[in-house]
């Protein structure tokens, strides 16, 4: 599915860039129209919009965020934003934990990956926050398994790590009004699942790929 950028999307992207004054560094790769999964640290509601706005507009139009269903379906405004403006892929958080049996969990997990693979389609890219929830910004949380399974399902797609600096100070969890500090977004070198690599080892490596892009403060 292909469509242009919703005007509200462009407006929000411009706003996010203005508030965060984000400086973008393509340290490990160049902007490209090839299919990618951008995965980054998550500390603020602005993370997605900032990362998205940092992409050149022709790439932006085909890049979709993965967003938490429970949060984004809560109010009509949020629903409008994810469905019409950002063209987000909604996934259920913790669905597997809620499952009654291991088989059901396995089934739910698999359908989740299928949903994301379908969202990638033939030409889309995705933005994913593998921590699954917003952190405080001090330490990068553990990565959830979705990134690994999705990478196994679609080995042709490039996995690009990214680090968003200072976003937790601009709009931290639980705050409504942003403080216009400067942010820095660094894209790293794409990674791949190595032949025979276990899930946990890959996720640790992916986490390391993100945290190594950090410039300020402890890793």
């Amino acid at each position: 599915m292909s469509r242009g950028i919703h005007p509200i999307g462009s407006l929000l992207a411009a706003l996010a860039r203005g508030i965060t004054g984000v400086q973008v560094q393509w340290a490990g790769c160049e902007p490209s129209e090839r299919q990618r999964i951008y995965f980054a640290n998550h500390t603020s509601h602005l993370d997605f919009v900032v990362l998205w706005s940092a992409l050149p507009s022709e790439i932006r139009a085909s890049t979709r965020p993965i967003a938490a269903k429970d949060y984004w379906e809560e109010t009509p405004v949020r629903r409008y934003l994810v469905e019409n403006v950002f063209n987000a892929v909604l996934v259920e958080r913790g669905a597997m934990a809620k499952a009654k049996s291991p088989d059901e969990a396995k089934f739910l997990g698999r359908s989740l990956i299928e949903d994301m693979a379908a969202a990638l389609g033939k030409r889309n890219s995705l933005i994913l926050f593998p921590e699954g929830t917003r952190g405080t910004g001090e330490k990068l949380g553990e990565f959830r398994g979705g990134l690994y399974f999705l990478a196994m399902r679609r080995p042709d797609v490039e996995l690009v790590p990214a680090y968003l600096e200072n976003m937790n100070r601009i709009l931290p969890k639980g705050e409504f009004l942003p403080v216009p500090m400067l942010s820095l977004l660094t894209f790293g070198k794409p990674i791949q699942v190595q032949p025979g690599e276990e899930k946990d080892a890959f996720l640790e490596r992916a986490r390391e790929a993100v945290s190594s892009l950090r410039r300020i403060g402890p890793a």
Binding site: G21, T136, N166, R169, E175, V179, P180, M181, L182
Partner: protein, 317 residues
Amino acid sequence: MLAAMHDPKLMWLFGGVLGLLVLSTFAGDILKQRHPIDSSRSTIDNLNARIRAWWKMCAIFAVSLLIGRIGTLVLFAVISFLALREYMTLVPTRRGDHRTLFWSFFVIMPLQYYLVGILWYGFFAIMIPVLAFIFVPTSIAIYGDTEHFLERAAKIQFGLMVCAYCLSHAPALLLLKIPGFEGHEPRLLLYLVIVDQMSDVLQYVWGKLIGKHKIAWRVSPNKTWEGFIGGTLTATALGTALWWVTPFTRLESAGMSFTICILGFCGGLVMSAIKRDIGIKDFGVAIEGHGGILDRIDSLCFAAPIFFHLVRYYFVP
């Protein structure tokens, strides 16, 4: 609007700045051709980048000055905003400071410029030193995070003082009512900015040419006695030669420019010390060749309030 254009002396000042820009651009080109690939090349490239940035900065400043009081106020408010943003980004703050910071950026700082705009001197002079001084620690305390409490409150207050309060004294020159000088206030602001910035430039030039003895090598490896003395003397001479655009006599103008140079040096030194403390070279990357906004205006932040008060004390009845 554009009333300032009917002030021939202001136009002369603009013409002088333009001439200087043209001259330095030629000089930069010649240097570039003489040193195609040697060790001094990176210094020359940086010099040319700085000159290019000066063209832009002078153009923006000239346009806002010509628009009048509103244009000048808006320009300085934007500079304050960008400087405060660079400062707060680099100074460690905590989650508990979030709302205080929001107020600093969106209420305290704009209010300071609003007060300049409505010519309310009494309020303008105490807003940040008194009211914000009480507000900042109180609002942090209400949030309840006491870790490094004094440091956090002090750092936010210092940022507001330097970036908002001190700098707002430069456009506040426009509200001074000097007998016999009515309508020419933009010249006073331009005089301050020219002497202050030329002092920076000339200290840099003298330092590069003959600089040997470091003043405070721990703080700033680029500041030398030769640069400081040469820059201060030449910028003071320049300021003295510009007496005819001010309400000052030649001697007064010499004193004023000397004060501006010394304070500008103090501002640069203090902001350098802060940069060393944080462990950075520049506050930002906003201006090509110069670093951040705050790196460019650090000297003005210290010179503006003292110059303002000297003029107010001696020339406003």
